[in-house]
Symmetry: C2
Subunit: 116 residues, 2 copies
DNA sequence: TAGTTAATTCAATGTCTATTGTATTATAGG
DNA sequence: CCTATAATACAATAGACATTGAATTAACTA
């Protein structure tokens, strides 16, 4: 099947992967939380009331599409801090703004009887 | 499980439903195509090279979350024209712009050793 | 009424995935 | 070495979903 198209300069598959990453309630909560500042896994356990392994899974999904990045604590390597990737956020914000721009909605000549 | 939260004024479930609707490659192509102007199902069959019943299914998903609306031809009621809902597009454009706004990314005091 | 076209609905299927429980890795400190 | 903690990895399961094929509805026309 043809899945290699592009929309607004981005491959369709890449865009849908990002949208799918954000289309889960728990992942959306995680992302919105990370927008408020870096946190470790264990803090998300308390704030979002989710098991640690489930958070690891969701953080991985968000990382794989580039929305989130993680780094280890320099003092105590057991801790990993996750944060929103600024460039990715900006890129997809602009892409979605173009995709959904109401000013760009066009009503071209309709097909069918009414339009022809 | 707590799924009744709100993000930027919208229920989490409603937002994820919209994101999920757009997170399928075919539905994203359909939506992007509808941004270019109203079309009937049968025209999408040709342009996107997908079976009619599959298009009906995807158009229903997009309609159920309010992104797309359909209306029957006044002359020949067999034809149904689908179009992007302008208000919904504007609403979710703004919502996503806020969700992904890179200017709002904060780096609050970290948890763990490095932060404390 | 019969036939044609546009669209939808229904049923079945294979795949993907969110979640849970358990086990393992990695790092730090006694 | 032993223990504890933060995080990840693995395995299993149940539910969701995209796709296909066939059947059905709705509307128009001869």
């Amino acid at each position: 099947m043809n899945t290699a198209g592009h929309i607004h300069g981005h491959p369709t598959e890449e865009a849908t992967a990002v949208l799918k990453a954000l289309s889960d309630p728990n992942r959306l909560r995680i992302f919105a939380r990370l927008m408020q500042g870096d946190t470790c896994n264990c803090e998300l356990v308390q704030e979002l009331n989710l098991p640690a392994n489930l958070l690891s899974h969701h953080l991985r999904v968000l990382s794989e599409v580039g929305l989130v990045t993680g780094r280890r604590d320099r003092i105590d390597g057991r801790w990993v801090y996750y944060s929103v990737d600024r460039a990715a956020a900006a890129r997809w914000q602009a892409w979605l703004a173009a995709l959904l721009d109401p000013a760009q909605i066009r009503v071209r000549p309709l097909c069918g009887p009414e339009g022809g």
